[in-house]
Amino acid sequence: MIAERRATAVPVASVRRSNGLRTFLRIVLYVLLVAAAIYYLIPVYVLLVTSLKSFNEVTLDRMWALPAGLNFGSFSEAWNQLSPNFVNSLSIAVPAAVLSSMVGSINGYILAKWRFRGADLIFTLILFGMFIPYQSVLIPLVQLGSGVNTALRDVLPGISLGYGSIPWLVLCHIVYGIPITTLIFRNYYVGIPGELIEAARIDGAGFGAIYRRVLLPLSIPGFVVVLIWQFTSAWNDFLFAVTLTSQPNWPVTVALNNLAGSFSVSWNIQMAGALIAAMPTLLIYIVLGRYFVRGLLAGSLKG
């Protein structure tokens, strides 16, 4: 490719003339990129230096200065306050991600390889669900969840599955995750050649065997994308959680917002809390960024 570009005939004089300009433009290019990188990294810098400072070091005139020494007091204080919520977040996001990806995989398989009449219309109607403002379902979700509690009160005393509980929130993440997970898997499976399916069918494989023997082994990247996507969405969710869970079941986003909204909590603890809340998804991004981006781009449909 590069050799090809060089081969295109360009008058030698014009190359010489533009050489100085070229270097200058390259420098401008990198200056712009570094400036942009600073804009994106400034919050990280402030987050880190503030949360590593000791209590008496968190003064306004030293806000931008590096901490005098590493002090993890803010972290342990923030962790004391947020750890139960951190655990809640895990017990929300992990089951939500796992079950979502299983549901999405089956749906995607059927919509890609077992197409039925009206499948396209149904798929489009399902997709609409990932764009709706969830405000338009919140009130009935509370009512429905309360109904579940009432219905189960006598059957399962002491166990809450409805409004206020973690299982109800997980169910919402799974149901409202159906559009995106189905979309990602469907588009993934459409790319798997029909000949592979045909060959398996000739060997006598049916619906289940084709899925297990042909698609599932090829699905690992698809599962990684969807698991990451659903884990991140559920972990970062605030609206469903603040509406549908009661205080002991709050995930870390709701607890952090509460922590940051109270005037009695100093900034270093707020920043340490923010870092704690951001850490799991940030780690996933750092380790598996490629798959994260794939989920991100899938969210914009095919565009």
Binding site: L32, D120, S136, V175, A260, M271, G289
Partner: protein, 320 residues
Amino acid sequence: MRRPSRDRLLSLGLIAPSILAVGVFVYGLIGWTGFVSLTKWNDLRPDYSLAGLANYASDFANSRFQIDLRNTVVFTVFFVVASVVVGLLLASLLDRRIRAEGLFRSIFLFPMAISFIVTGVVWKWLLTPSAGVNTLLGLDPSTNRWFTDPTVLHLDANTGIGKILGDFGLGFLASSEFGVPVAMLSVVVAAVWQMSGFVMALYLAGLRGIPEELREAARVDGAGEWGVFRYVLLPLLTPITLSAVIILGHISLKIYDLTVAMSPNGPAFATDVPANLMWQTAFKDNEFAKAAAIAMVMLVMVAVVIVPYLVWNRRQEASA
């Protein structure tokens, strides 16, 4: 002959629960919210007697809701334009054989991995007038008030443009109802920080899909770098721009987490949004019917943007 039909039934049986779930939880619950918005349920105890459009009338007459609608429009315009411009700029810069391209890409994109709540908490600290950016740049906290600024920039009815508008019967535009709340722009800064990397990723994928020969051909025809960008790349990127505008637009119409964490209501509701009003109306004031009406207005705003997009997307796929 029996086998395919059994598999067919199995496939339908396995997808049915999902279709049913979406049918109930998306369409059914939207229908229920729509019904609630027409009732008199504005107290803790449900009252399903019909009230017609009274809740919509009272919402639209509420000056706070009017402010919220203005804020949403202002936020959407600034946020979408800024994100698209920044995203396109970054993608174009990165598409020029940059050293450490992967590192830059990761830096621009990482905010997408964290929640709006974290973003809001951090940017609140960065833009608190007595601290943050003001102390870094030595700005006067009393004039650089960021998200605590109650100012609403608008045209003055008594000066040039305002008078001209008045002559055309458009004098109402020269009022704070059609102004720009300054505090909202601080939220835009945080939102662009979070979402512009996503736009960059979209554009970068698009740019990588444009064959080098097309650029080469334009250069041979005498086009400079700007010409290649303006007349070759930009037109080919139009579908991506459309996607980006629609995705960002529908996010901004329902923005909630970010403003709640950063500045829930704001000075004189300068950073208030319909989602926030809906939540407070329903779960603080227990005026469920009025809240449902706000939710339905939000749904319509989003549907106006999304439904044509879904149809367009389906047609594209059908023709592909």
